[in-house]
Point group: C2
Chain length 81, copies 2
């Protein structure tokens, strides 16, 4: 089983990395872009036979404890077999 | 319209950041984890009225030119209204 975790800065938090990417894209000639935000993608592979409900609980705990800074970031995840 | 771009290291490329996260999770007591890979999530908001097919072509071009290092990274994306 694999967990895909998406971590983004909260809407209200400025994203200088995203602004830099936006400026880079515009300098390459891309037009009509409103905003760019850069986040993290964490993929966790569980050992075979992992329990889905237990894994979901653990992933939530991992995000709260280590992966996301919940003061400025929000996260969501999905589990795939 | 919004493009969500997922950028990952290719399978064959070592991911020291992922290994560090794996070690961190294990030191927090999480068991039964096989692997952790860390990638990037880039979200691009297009100005209203953007053409879907054109946007898809542009996002591919953005990835090839700026966002992903295609020597060591692979990407995929989806478009949502």
């Amino acid at each position: 089983m694999k967990a895909r975790i998406y971590i983004r800065l909260k809407e209200s938090v400025l994203d200088p990395q995203g602004k830099a990417v936006l400026a880079g894209l515009e300098s390459l000639g891309f037009k009509g872009l409103e905003d760019v935000r850069v986040g993290k993608l964490v993929e966790i592979t569980f050992a075979p036979g992992a329990n889905r409900a237990k894994a979901a609980g653990e992933v939530k705990e991992m995000c709260e404890k280590l992966l996301a800074n919940t003061v400025i970031e929000e996260y969501n995840f999905d589990l795939a077999d």
